[in-house]
């Protein structure tokens, strides 16, 4: 998905859209109860590598600077371990918030271009929509061709080992009802637009 120019209007709407979406998540309204204690950041296995820690995400939202978080590496380093979610004393579902920020970033084109994780996610979606199942060989091939082709060479020995052990199918498994899946997805996409 290509990035598009952000107008000032888009930017000022960003926080609002985000809050609206988050409040649609069951229990999402608890985001307002953040006490900035930092339990989320302390529990996060990857916060040490993040430009902004999970706690700072909510601080930045309050400061009207969510776009900075989106343009950083922060949300795409969330591995969905849910440690923050189960430990938050205010009951904030931080992992769901991370998902929402990822979606918002993709929707507004606000993510580091060439970043590997957004590419992985959108490619994964494309594969599942087509076959109804995941397909690791194609996923990784497309991911690295688009982001870092040399990585394919680096991973070749592992790929060969998996192949020799019967663990790397080179053809996708497809579901019979792929058409059904497509029709359901078309329905939700149309209902999201209206």
């Amino acid at each position: 998905m290509a990035a598009r120019e952000m107008t000032q209007n888009d930017l000022s709407q960003l926080g609002e859209v985000f809050l609206q979406h988050v409040q649609n998540i069951p229990g999402g309204e608890k985001i307002k109860l953040c006490i900035q204690c930092g339990t989320c950041s302390g529990s996060c296995p990857t916060s040490y590598a993040m430009d902004y820690t999970p706690r700072e995400i909510i601080a930045s939202l309050r400061a009207g600077q969510l776009d900075k978080v989106l343009m950083s590496n922060t949300v795409w380093l969330c591995a969905s371990c849910y440690h923050c979610t189960v430990r938050c004393p205010s009951g904030i579902k931080l992992t769901d918030i991370m998902y929402e920020l990822k979606r918002l970033g993709i929707e507004y084109g606000l993510y580091v271009q060439g970043g590997t994780t957004p590419t992985l996610s959108t490619t994964f979606l494309d594969i599942v929509n087509r076959y109804g199942r995941g397909f690791e060989a194609e996923l990784l091939a497309r991911l690295y061709l688009r982001t870092n082709p040399l990585k394919l060479l680096d991973l070749a020995p592992l790929g060969l080992k998996l192949l020799r052990h019967g663990r790397l199918p080179l053809r996708p498994e497809r579901i019979k009802a792929a058409q059904d899946l497509a029709r359901m997805l078309q329905y939700v996409q149309e209902s999201e637009v209206t």
Partner: protein, 292 residues
């Protein structure tokens, strides 16, 4: 006992031995796993990162198919599938708007979902339905002397903790202790393996895996048991990369928990998919009598 079974994409491909050993262990314990016909990918963490409603829709198609087939509990061996399917199940129960939209999408293809099915992890089924006593009664090999590190990772019990503690799960500890094993202390047993970050931010994921291998080794583990195919790949297939990156020499066999139960039950190597692993297990399993 018969359960609908949702294998998930990974146990059908790169973690085939997990699917094989789960079915074989189920059968040996009188708990047949019947594959849900024409199931689709649950969406995992990646789909949810791009589209929310669509992610819930593809997950709920599986729940609806399960309900159509009689409903109740659907068994999975993948922690990510477990969390994604049950998240869809729970959020639909909690949000009438979501239920309505997803219901409409399902209706387009003649499906319905009335919250009558949910996912359960196979470990939950073995420990809490089949029961430790039944499993121990059927065991032909004692695991005595085998030092096992049970690794639970994240999504088996987080966020929901339906059958085990969110911070310090113990189901496998109890299971393997009952089968005679010497379960080692493993403080990092519910820490993160890096998940999908192994494909996108390798250095970070390698570091997390290295922490796990170092901790298990330090406490004397001879083998680590996993409950999730993604954890398994990171710990097992990427062990060489960890060694190359950190200059370490780990050669810790990683097995699916079902393979270890299968060894106790004396099932054959073929049934358990032993031989498909990249870190050899011959040495740790050499003394056990397995079916031909």
């Amino acid at each position: 006992m018969r359960y609908l079974y949702y294998p998930g994409c990974s146990p059908k491909t790169s973690n085939k031995a997990y699917d094989l050993s789960a079915r074989a262990v189920g059968q040996a314990l009188g708990c047949e796993l019947v594959e849900l016909e024409d199931w689709n990918c649950c969406g995992a963490t990646a789909y949810m990162s791009v589209r929310e409603l669509s992610a819930f829709v593809i997950a709920s198609r599986n729940l609806a198919l399960a309900e159509q087939r009689g409903g109740g509990d659907m068994v999975t061996v993948c922690s990510a599938c477990l969390t994604v399917l049950n998240k869809a199940h729970r959020y639909m129960a909690e949000s009438p708007d979501l239920r309505k939209t997803i219901g409409e999408a399902l209706a387009v293809v003649g499906l319905e979902y009335h919250n009558g099915s949910r996912a359960r992890h196979f470990l939950d089924i073995l420990v809490n339905e089949v029961g430790l006593e039944t499993i121990a009664d059927r065991a032909v090999n004692s695991l005595a002397g085998l030092r096992v590190a049970p690794y639970y990772g994240c999504q088996m019990s987080r966020p929901y903790g339906d059958f085990d503690d969110q911070e310090f799960p113990t189901s496998m500890d109890c299971l393997f202790t009952r089968l005679g094993a010497d379960v080692v202390t493993f403080p990092l047993k519910a820490h993160c393996c890096g998940g999908m970050l192994m494909s996108t931010n390798e250095e970070i994921a390698l570091r997390l895996v290295q922490d796990l291998l170092a901790c298990a080794t330090e406490y004397g583990a001879q083998v680590m048991a996993t409950v999730c195919p993604l954890c398994h790949i990171n710990l097992e297939a990427y062990q060489d990369k960890v060694n190359a990156y950190f200059g370490s020499h780990y050669a810790l066999p990683i097995v699916y928990f079902t393979q270890l139960v299968g060894v106790a039950l004396g099932l054959s190597k073929k049934e358990l998919g032993l031989g498909m692993e990249l870190v050899p297990t011959q040495e740790v399993f050499a003394s056990y009598k397995l079916a031909a």
